[in-house]
Amino acid sequence: MLKYTLKRLVNAFVVLFIITTATWFLMQLLPGSPIQNSEKLTPEQEAQVAEQYNLDEPLPVQYALYMSGLLRGDLGDSYQFGGRSVTGIILERLPVSIFLGTQAIIVGLVVGLFLGIVSALKQNSIWDSGAAFLAVLGVSVPDFVLAPLAQYWLGLKLGIFPIAFFESWWHSVLPSLVLATVVAAVIATFTRTEMLEVLGQDYVTLAKAKGLSRLAVVLRHVLRNSMIPLVTIMLPLTAALVTGVLIVETVFSIPGLGEQFVRSIFEKDFPIIMGTTILFSVFFVASYLLQDILYGIIDPRIRVAGNRE
């Protein structure tokens, strides 16, 4: 198990290195440069700024400088905000995004599981249709459509929720709901399919043949077995959520990392783009690892296979 974990860790670092490098070079392909955007600077000032941020060095040197900083845990300084450190900005902005994301996941998970389970157990009932409707809505209507719609109807027209900014918990409800829709939709659809699949398995028939009540069969045998594959969609779901956070924070003007990231792209604030990308990547890679570990905990077949290594 230790060897296995170590191998996974090494893999993770290789993946992170590749993502970092690729992003760094891709970023250089963005049209324009961070400084040329601002017309107010004199050529001397430009040169001075360029030197301050090492932008006058050849690309390989810039890359080497960045990577060596990274190894020391230094993400560099932002081109805006009077050169504040990227780490500082991320630390300031991250909690808001985490809060939104977590809230969305919890709501999405609870609603999605509930709808998925009920619609599998009561096939073709009103719950089933409701879940199907939500699933279509959540999967096919993108966040950048859903968010303004929610703002307009629930915010402006009905006046239930504030439509922007982040001043109280109440402000976080609407954006979280928008984010949660996708999560709930994906989880509901997935749970329903898995449950129906498991309900048709021989071991479920055997459990019924033991004289267990319907509830006991579902709780002890169906749920656990349908939840195992759920672990495998955690990752794509998390990915969807991160992109969702970028959009939703921008639409709702929420001072989270997502909004900052989108803005830093327009501003060509390279250190922020890099820092955020690296953070997102670490997040993905970590959820991959977590997924493997979770899988092992829920599914004894894998646990044992891992132990043998």
Partner: protein, 343 residues
């Protein structure tokens, strides 16, 4: 093996079960009548698709609720029609009264639950045992079905068992609450030949020790010779011939049974010559024939066979068959030699 003459513990009378599907109504069982006597093993034999499993699951009411239609008939157990019992009452039948063993031991056990818990679950539910009592009983059960190191084995997961061992676990689960009737639906089909023999031997031994009545479902007549007391041959959702093992093997009365017997491999003979599969395919359950279900494949079929369902002709106390060849006006047909010569 001696015939067990005794009262019926389970009587299935004119059972008709259909499923509604997109392709139409699948008439899986179309009037099956048989009974199971106390302490006997009744083998239900027939080709794939003849309705054996559906009939068996009907007894336990385990066919999918969503699309099963009970078209008629009754299943009498302890004076009550199982088809009419409430779902709640059925919970007390399944397990302690009637238990079932399924075809594929690789998929019959919950892969995420320790084997011990899967046995204990039943004990707690029906016998109200405490955790410790149940664990002890579970270990006893594993030993009973021939699994050594029971204590340790209880803590393992199904994937740590071989196919044969898993089927023993499934049998242990079935036996947990001392059922009066055990329905084994092709319990050895998915296993190697040597393991098959072991499992059949185990069932026979258990029956002697515990005195259960067993319904043994199989598509392989070879399996039943040494295991069953009586045989019911099923085809196209009907029981077309039934009798003692002796009668079915030595004096079969219906061409379908002849065909089944001819397709048993003989260990002594040259196999390539002896194995004669029945030509043709079983009838379509969505559009079953109106006469004898076997007419389309029967080399001796007469006009009437296609038009009318034959009634039963009785040959002995136990032996009867549904075939027009036994009508007084039918021509005399000799059984093929391969059958008469069969051991």
């Amino acid at each position: 093996m001696a015939t067990v003459n005794g009262e019926a513990i389970l009587s299935v009378d004119d059972l008709r079960i259909s499923f509604s599907t997109y392709a139409g109504e699948v008439q899986a069982v179309r009037g099956a009548t048989f009974d199971l006597r106390r302490g006997e093993t009744l083998a239900i034999v027939g080709e794939s698709g003849s309705g054996k499993s559906v009939a068996a699951r009907s007894i336990m009411r385990l066919n999918p609720e969503s699309n099963t239609i009970v078209r008629g008939g009754e299943i009498i157990f302890e004076g009550e029609d199982l088809l009419k019992l409430s779902e709640k009452r059925m919970l007390d039948i399944r397990g302690p009264k009637i238990a079932m063993v399924f075809q594929d031991p690789m998929t019959s056990l919950d892969p995420t639950m320790r084997v011990g818990r899967q046995i204990i679950e039943s004990l707690k539910q029906h016998l109200g045992m405490s955790g410790r009592q149940a664990a002890e009983r579970a270990a006893e059960l594993l030993e009973l079905v021939g699994i050594p190191h029971a204590e340790a084995r209880l803590k393992q997961y199904p994937h740590q068992f071989s196919g044969g061992m898993r089927q023993r676990v499934v049998i242990a689960i079935a036996l947990a609450c001392d059922p009066q009737v055990l329905i084994a639906d092709e319990p050895t089909t998915a296993l190697d030949v040597t393991i098959q023999a072991q499992i059949l031997e185990l069932l026979r031994e258990l029956q002697e020790r515990l005195g259960m009545s067993i319904v043994l479902i199989t598509h392989d007549l070879g399996v039943v010779a040494s295991t069953a007391h009586r045989i019911a041959v099923m085809y196209g959702g009907k029981i077309i011939e039934t009798g003692t093992v002796r009668e079915i093997f030595y004096t079969p009365q219906m061409p379908y049974t002849w065909g089944l017997l001819a397709s048993i491999p003989l260990p002594t003979a040259d196999r390539s010559q002896d194995l004669i599969p029945i030509p043709g395919t079983p009838p379509d359950a969505t559009d079953p024939p109106k006469g004898c279900p076997f007419a389309a494949r029967c080399p001796y079929a007469m006009r009437i066979c296609e038009d009318e369902v034959p009634g039963y002709t009785t040959f002995s106390d136990e032996h009867r068959a549904a075939c027009w060849l036994h009508h007084q006006m039918a021509p005399n047909v000799e059984r093929p030699a391969r059958i008469t010569g069969a051991k």
